[in-house]
């Protein structure tokens, strides 16, 4: 399938004088910003990130581990607006507001780390396959195929179930699942770009393989990766939340998915806050990144380029 | 092939088919308003071929598309002017023309493909790759000839079939048409359409129409595709055929044949043709009259021989210079320095002054109008009367060459 929709995206400017690149970048930015939904997504992201960064300011960090919910066992199921608990408390007396705020941090950590790992691995594998090609390519791509054959959530579920639900294990599980797409994109891009004249040109001018790779191939392959990464920022948090729902989550962690599943039973009994707010956060987080990713794709993907 | 010399003088006085008056089409762009077409006026008379020439981006295609209101809007805006159109019937009955920019969409649909047809630059792109040739041509007949399709005793025809003849049927209805009791009737309908389509294709000297009809575009050669386009365009025997660079996408050998075909069909149907091209040599062969466009303006018009033998406007001369002889194919326009200026929020001035050897200060301030010089029209201050402009004779530009 991926082969079929042959990657034909327009590369970000990486050639010609610096000024040109900047102008092109500015152009891309302007294009992106012309789409209100993308802007909306960006706004939400900025808001969420600010919240994550200001967490220690907005709330009194819990000791010894700030990523653990502070629990006030005498204050269970307090409704929103209770002094000290603006968004109420959970059935274990956890402060929902604290969970929401630090949940943003947890999600940020999780998604950044996983995206970081997966993109790196993906680039390395994809580059080896695409640039060296030959037997190596064949082998690596079969491996990729195998990993792609198992739907993400199911794979992550199987791994996490075996490893146990510590934060680091969840990260590991998600990384194992998410890297393949990048490998595949990068490879496709490289194959595609290798055919472009300027690479040959570079070769003629006698650049070394690696410098061609560094100067021409890699930068040009980055755009689709950016799009994918943006989307995954949301997808990862969503998947992690789902794992927590199924029961694979670190106990008492300030994580949205945990809060949602803990609070759900209460909704119908009128105690809606414990799961509604965190649920909303997961939704907003995923929505925002998906919107931006989608907007980026529209601009960077010539298939929808304006004529 | 219609040599210009052979063109009967009657053409000049033949009844109007289209009269474009002060047409203005603007495009909204980041920088502001681009005046793609900026006050263009010209006529097309019955049976004649008018050539609209100019460099790429001079607005000729936009002008042509305006006839069928095919300019994308947004960003396009019809900023002014009118396009009066006399169909055969109105001409016969001496009725009033319709303004193509003024009429309702419904009326426009009735004109598109029926009274005014268009041939596009690249036949490969202009045919739907996922639809058989037959079906594509058939659409025209369904759209404009549904009554004939049903035949005279239309009252006896079931509604479903009548709907089918107007392509109003929905999925389930189309399914139903394959079953009794409608099956017979719809088959008959199909047969009539196929007959018409085959006929139309045969017109364009396609060897084996019936076979072609089941083919898909990618299975045909470029020339073949263009023939199909032409067949499709002339299917309803329109009053006006707009040919937008019909041959640029084809290789030289095919070109000539396609042009012959167009000219020949035009002769037989008496269709008027608006022939758009940047290729002077072709224009010279094809057209009775030419209108030279530059930067959204018409800078010179006249009978083909006159314009070619004695071009008045510096721009036209530039073009001619680029085409030493009529025998040489492919006149290219690189002879003139620079290129077409951005027409964003233009100030009153001669559009050509940026590239004009003879430009003087006045050209940068005054906007020349299309003046009659002999039986040519030219928009250049060199031919304007200083008195009317209220400026000293000396401030007018001087264009060397044949004296006025």
């Amino acid at each position: 399938m991926v082969e079929l929709s042959a990657p034909g995206r327009i590369p970000l400017p990486t050639h010609g004088p610096f000024a040109v690149r900047v102008r092109r970048l500015a152009e891309v930015a302007r294009e992106v910003l012309r789409n209100p939904t993308t802007v909306a997504g960006l706004v939400i992201i900025v808001a969420l990130l600010t919240m994550a960064f200001l967490a220690p300011v907005l709330t009194e960090p819990n000791t010894p581990d700030p990523y653990q919910m502070p629990r006030d066992w005498t204050m269970r199921d307090a409704p929103p607006g209770t002094p000290g608990h603006p968004l109420g408390t959970t059935s274990t007396g956890g402060d929902v507001f604290y969970g929401v705020v630090w949940g943003a941090r947890t999600s940020l950590q999780l998604s950044v780390i996983v995206v970081g790992i997966t993109v790196t691995v993906g680039i390395i594998v994809g580059s080896l396959a695409g640039f060296i090609g030959g037997k190596l390519d064949e082998i690596l791509m079969r491996v990729v195929d195998v990993f792609l054959a198992i739907p993400e959530l199911i794979f992550a579920l199987a791994i996490a179930a075996v490893l146990g639900p510590s934060f680091s294990n969840i990260i590991f599980a998600l990384s194992v699942v998410f890297w393949v797409k990048y490998a595949r994109i990068i490879r496709g891009q490289i194959i595609h770009i290798k055919q472009n004249d300027y690479v040959d040109a570079a070769r003629v001018t006698g650049d070394s393989r690696f410098s061609i790779y560094r100067k021409d191939v890699l930068p040009n392959s980055i755009t689709p990766v950016m799009v994918q990464a943006t989307m995954d920022m949301g997808g990862i948090v969503l998947t992690a939340a789902t794992l927590s729902f199924i029961g694979l989550a670190e106990a008492g962690l300030a994580e949205w998915g945990v809060l949602v599943s803990d609070g759900q039973a209460g909704i119908s009994a009128g105690k809606w806050w414990a799961s509604t707010f965190p649920g909303l956060m997961v939704f907003l987080w995923a929505l925002a990144f998906n919107l931006v990713g989608d907007g980026l794709r529209d601009v960077l993907d010539p298939r929808t380029e304006r004529r | 092939m219609t040599a210009p010399a052979a063109s009967p003088p009657s053409r000049a006085t033949a009844p109007l088919v289209v009269s474009v008056q002060d047409l203005r089409v603007h495009f909204k762009v980041k920088a502001g308003m681009a005046h793609a077409v900026d006050g263009v006026s010209f006529d097309v008379r019955d049976g004649e071929t008018l050539g609209l020439v100019g460099e790429t981006g001079c607005g000729k295609t936009v002008t042509a598309r305006s006839f069928l209101r095919l300019v994308k809007s947004p960003p396009g805006i019809y900023a002014g002017g009118k396009i009066d159109f006399w169909s055969r019937d109105t001409r016969r009955s001496g009725g009033e023309p319709v303004d193509l920019l003024g009429i309702s969409d419904r009326e426009m649909l009735a004109i598109r493909g029926d009274r005014i047809a268009m041939i596009f630059q690249d036949p490969a792109k202009a045919l739907n790759p996922a639809m058989s040739i037959g079906d594509q041509v058939a659409e025209v007949f369904y759209q404009h000839r549904s009554d004939d399709l049903i035949g005279e005793r239309s009252d006896r025809v079931p509604t479903l079939v009548r709907r089918a003849s107007r392509q109003l049927t929905t999925g389930p209805e189309r399914l139903a048409l394959r079953l009794p009791p409608w099956r017979r009737q719809s088959r008959a309908l199909r047969r009539r359409v196929d007959a018409l389509v085959a006929g139309a294709l045969a017109e364009t000297q396609i060897a084996n129409p019936r076979k072609i009809m089941d083919r898909y575009p990618h299975e045909l050669s470029g020339g073949m595709k263009q023939r199909v386009m032409i067949a499709q365009a002339l299917a309803c025997n329109p009053d006006l055929l707009i040919a937008d660079e019909p041959t640029t996408a084809l290789d030289v050998t095919i070109q000539a044949r396609i042009l012959e075909l167009i000219a020949d069909l035009q002769e037989r149907h008496g269709t008027s043709v608006l022939y758009i091209s940047h290729d002077l040599s072709l224009v010279r062969q094809m057209c009775d009259r030419v209108a030279v466009m530059y930067a959204g303006r018409i800078v010179e018009t006249g009978d083909t021989p006159a314009v070619f033998s004695d071009p008045l406007h510096p721009y036209t001369r530039g073009l001619m210079a680029a085409v030493p002889s009529a025998t040489q194919k492919r006149g290219e326009l690189q002879a003139i320095e620079g290129n077409v200026p951005e027409m964003v929020n233009p100030t009153p001035s001669c559009r050509f002054h940026t590239r004009c050897r003879f430009a003087v200060d006045l050209c940068r301030r005054v906007d020349p109008e299309l003046l009659d010089v002999g039986d040519q029209g030219v928009a250049c201050l060199a031919y304007a009367s200083a008195a009317e402009l209220g400026v000293p004779e000396s401030s007018l530009p001087l264009v060397e060459g044949p004296n006025r």
Partner: protein, 600 residues
């Protein structure tokens, strides 16, 4: 599709009649709805619909419209309930097996076995007292059915009892059933409690005779009444694979041929288990057919109860606050369960096996001060109020409420931070503190207990860092399967033991099940004293003397605890208010119900 065919034969005619009645109704609705956008979403569950047949509106518009708001008295006009004639219980997991010889204590299979199979004696509804089951009399020393030396038990077998397959109950069948479990001796089963005690079984006329290899006070209450001692149809077993040592009998795993008030009519894996009233039951027949739905998600069970689709649901205290005040729902909280939540302390730690972040030394728990420190630091109130929603109490070591020997006067730990500080200072951990990982089963009260522990210790001393590792049941059990156990501590609840003899053997005795695994002998000030007391009590038949011993042990263990006991849960069940003569006995296997008693 095998199972489904079996049901196709199943439905009682009155059921089908009802179905057709509902349907005229359902259809009208559907027709309307198919037009509407939400497609068939609106065709009410026919079950919910039955009441509607006389008046739909109230039933479909508000949940539990069947009860006037606030009215939670069991007395209900019977016509006005969902699924009349059928009792629907929402269980949280699916049985691994329905074979008495293959289920472990606390397995979901026990729920069904209790209803469909019977045992020689049963635990009565009232409380711990035994009532005759398939034995027509409960053996006692008085009626001579227990020999003076307490080694021989005689069970006169009830006459005229037939199995669901029509075969007759005879003493030989009883013997066969017991021997079968002993022969198969499946490790995942519970046959060890038989093999540990039973020396031999015999048939004497109309009696079934058991000879023990040692006196045991708990034999009747915790062995004869256990699921593994259920009486199965010999014909059925022998017709389907018989009994082989160590080999699972797949027929018995998914089919049941017993003598109980219910027959198993269908087991739709992942969906439900259907029980039907057994017509030829020898005793008081059941009132309602039963359907046990598998509902994995606790939230969904709670919702279903409020929607009126379930008559009772498996729930844990953390949901009580969510269900309180819901229309038509009654929260039944009865006697204390006999399975307190407890934290195990590992005295057999192998340092290199502990999680890397742990800083505690291998002999951490050898020091009584540490064990007492934990017991003194734990916030019992938080756990009982928060974790058990107030439905619980603190437990003396190791005599939970309702067990023989329990007494308010027995010493229990209360939170005393000063004392705790003293203890940890004494032990020498106060200054540098420590980090310890405690393994708990994910969700529910165990996780809560873990979190309370973590909070309690952090509050006592921020340098005391407890990492709560909440894992799914499977991993919890795998971790325990590892030898030695790779964590310093864990939280779960104890097995329900009807008699202290059994529980002390398992949880306190230095050479007992846990004593050996966790190395209690390393911990006790005087292991031999503890051991001898327990052994003495186990064979003592004089109740007063036993109580004395156990209370003495309780005092000793207060000074020298080997467990931390956060609290003991009360029997808890959320059910529709329309359920009548609701009976719940903690001594019955989870969910502590015998459906045969219930009506609505």
């Amino acid at each position: 599709m095998k199972v489904q065919q079996t049901i196709a034969l199943a439905p009682a005619e009155e059921e089908t009649m009802r179905a057709s009645k509902q349907w005229r109704f359902g259809q009208i609705r559907v027709v309307l709805v198919v037009l509407a956008l939400l497609a068939a979403a609106c065709t009410a569950d026919p079950a919910t619909d039955t009441t509607g047949s006389d008046d739909t509106t109230p039933d479909t518009t508000e949940p539990g419209a069947t009860t006037a708001p606030g009215d939670t008295t069991p007395e209900e006009p019977t016509g006005d309930v969902n699924n009349p004639g059928l009792y629907v219980h929402a269980a949280d997991d699916e049985p691994l097996s329905l074979d008495p010889a293959q289920v472990a204590a606390g397995e979901a299979g026990e729920t069904v076995i209790t209803q469909v199979y019977e045992r020689l004696v049963e635990i009565g509804p009232g409380g711990p007292d035994l009532i005759p089951g398939l034995a027509s009399e409960v053996p006692t020393v008085e009626n001579g059915l227990i020999s003076e030396d307490g080694l021989t038990y005689t069970f006169p077998i009830r006459e005229g009892v037939v199995f669901h397959d029509g075969s007759e109950l005879t003493p030989d069948v009883v013997k066969f059933s017991w021997d079968r479990a002993l022969t198969m001796a499946l490790p995942e089963g519970n046959s060890s409690i038989l093999s540990d005690l039973v020396a031999s079984t015999a048939v004497d006329g109309n009696n079934f005779v058991v000879i023990l290899n040692d006196r045991n006070a708990a034999f009747l209450n915790s062995v004869v009444t256990a699921a593994v001692a259920s009486i199965v149809s010999q014909e059925a077993v022998e017709a389907n694979g018989g009994a082989e040592a160590g080999v699972v009998n797949e027929f018995m795993t998914s089919n049941m041929v017993g003598t109980g008030p219910y027959t198993l009519t269908a087991w739709n894996r992942g969906e439900n288990i259907q029980l039907e009233i057994f017509g030829d039951y020898w005793g008081e027949p059941a009132h309602l057919d039963v359907r046990i739905d598998q509902v994995a998600d606790a939230d969904v069970r709670a919702l279903g109860l409020q929607a009126g689709d379930y008559d009772s649901i498996e729930t844990d205290p953390t949901f009580v606050t969510d269900l309180e005040g819901a229309d038509g729902v009654t929260i039944f909280s009865g006697e204390f369960l006999l399975e307190p939540v407890h934290m195990g302390m590992n005295m057999n730690i192998q340092a290199d096996l502990l999680p890397p972040e742990d800083t505690i030394p291998p002999d951490f728990f050898h020091d009584v001060n540490v064990r007492r420190g934990f017991n003194l630091a734990f916030d019992y109130e938080a756990f009982i109020e928060g974790g058990l929603a107030g439905l619980g109490g603190v437990v003396p070591h190791y005599l939970p409420q309702g067990m023989l020997g329990y007494d308010e006067s027995l010493p229990v730990f209360e939170r005393d931070l000063a004392a705790a500080e003293a203890a940890f200072t004494e032990a020498g951990y106060w200054e540098e503190g420590f980090t310890m990982t405690v393994l708990v089963e994910e969700g529910g009260v165990f996780e809560t207990a873990g979190l309370v522990l973590a909070d309690s210790m952090a509050e006592l001393n921020p340098a005391f860092n407890i990492q709560v590792l909440a894992v799914v049941e499977a991993q919890f059990d795998s971790a325990h399967a590892a030898d030695p156990f790779p964590y310093a501590a864990w939280v779960k609840n104890s097995d329900p033991f009807a008699d202290p003899a059994a529980s002390f053997a398992a949880y306190i005795h230095p050479d007992g099940e846990w004593g050996s695994v966790h190395g209690f002998s390393e911990a006790y000030a005087d292991p031999d004293q503890i051991a001898s007391l327990i052994d003495e009590a186990a064979v003592e038949l004089d109740t007063d003397r036993r109580v004395e011993i156990y209370q003495e042990l309780a005092d000793l263990l207060y000074e020298d605890p080997v467990w931390l006991i956060p609290g003991n849960e009360r029997a808890l069940m959320a059910h529709r208010s329309w359920v009548q003569n609701f009976e719940m006995n903690p001594l019955w296997p989870r969910p502590s119900l015998k459906f045969a008693y219930l009506d609505k």
